[in-house]
Symmetry: C2
Subunit: 229 residues, 2 copies
DNA sequence: AAGTGGTCTAGACCACATT
DNA sequence: ATGTGGTCTAGACCACTTT
């Protein structure tokens, strides 16, 4: 069998794991490695490039390739559609629209989404259930200038999360994870005591230079988001 | 200038963003695209492969390449060394060891780390400050069977996080993000009211089949972890 | 100036999933 | 059986960074 880029990745990882190549170590150059593996330089190159992507190695021209000293391993996690996430647990998914209003964008939202003073937004409050258990409370704001068709959509059966994903492409976004003490309102919706610590995700998405939507997602008590390193 | 893989990525992303290629659309094959761009197939291949890695496209042999219908874009975030994270803000970093004990592993930890009944662990409580402001309370458990040299290390000046990163390689790990109500103890350390919602990270790391360490990190109030999509 | 990684090419063969 | 992506090669030239 021929030596593939995956074999080289494995070999490098093995050297690191067995402490042969410790953080900071300078690895042999691509040409040397290619020779010792008996493969083309491009193959070594791909292996090393992927290890850089995975946060294991650092490369600089002329300086060579080193084992990253603070292995800033990048955790990746997917942002699933909530319906899928719940259905994957085997439980039925249920969605409820709690409130729906069109209104002028409040100031805090205007500054967050960089909206003009005249901006009009659609504000939705929704509940997502796992079976009969409250799962997430969604506080969603949609920029009607960017997504005018949202104004005529009821969101009675399909949540804004899912609808937006299908309807509107986006180019950029950011996520903020934090913890929030449950207000009376939200506590009631989620069936949690007032002041319970809730895992909270705030998400903003943009289509090029235009902000599309902002959402605050409050998860039920004891929710944990998990990811692998 | 020659057409590079980055140009092709940009072009594909542009088609998607301008709704020419909507979710589900079948893209031309590599050979066709290579011809229309006037480049080698390998170049197109790399562009598409990276877009798959980024969660934009889906590929299946024989079936071709499609725009992913539920753009499960993967958020990536780095797990920095806390000292670096703080120093990057411009503020000085301060570390304090609060408690340090060697003890038999409690049951909950044994089951979490898959430790034998006789296992002995090092338990540390530490505080991390940003300037004089409490930043994070760290509750750390180290498997002394995996890291015997920890027993003789004082952790007075360097935190276990940083020490472990330099000292012990790891192969796997997982992260859990959640929200916790501050207990009296932790509230005092972090200067927060009792019951304040604290963003919490639980991290387990393994070296092959041996568990290395488990940590609970409680962040100060209002901490937000941010990442881009 | 020189050495390293970064990218591209043109061609080849392989592996897999559908037909 | 066929068509698609997946990978590899051998060589070339470029770009960056250090000396």
């Amino acid at each position: 069998m021929r030596t593939g880029y995956q074999d080289i990745k494995d070999h490098i990882l093995h050297q690191i794991r067995s402490n042969v190549w410790t953080p900071g170590t300078l690895l042999p150059g691509e040409i040397d490695l290619a020779e010792s593996f008996g493969c083309a330089r491009a193959t070594v190159s791909r292996a090393m490039r992927e290890l850089v992507d995975e946060g294991i190695l650092e490369r600089k021209r002329k300086a060579g390739t080193r084992v990253k000293s603070s292995p800033t391993r990048r955790a990746q996690f997917a942002i699933p559609i909530i319906r899928t996430e719940i259905e994957d647990t085997g439980a039925p998914y249920r969605y409820d629209l709690v409130e729906r209003h069109v209104l002028p964008a409040p100031n805090w939202l205007r500054s967050r989404l960089d909206l003009p003073e005249s901006a009009s937004v659609l504000h939705l409050k929704c509940m997502h259930y796992q079976g009969n258990t409250p799962y997430q409370f969604e506080d969603r704001w949609i920029n009607l200038a960017a997504v005018p068709q949202a104004e005529s959509y009821a969101f009675k059966d399909i949540g804004p999360n899912e609808w937006l994903v299908q309807e509107v492409p986006f180019t950029d976004g950011n996520l903020e994870f934090s913890a929030t003490n449950a207000t009376e309102d939200i506590a009631a919706f989620l069936g949690a005591p007032v002041n319970a610590a809730l895992f909270t995700v705030e998400r903003t998405t943009w289509l090029a230079d235009v902000s599309v939507t902002f959402a605050r997602l409050y998860f039920a008590r004891d929710y944990k988001m998990t990811t692998r390193l």
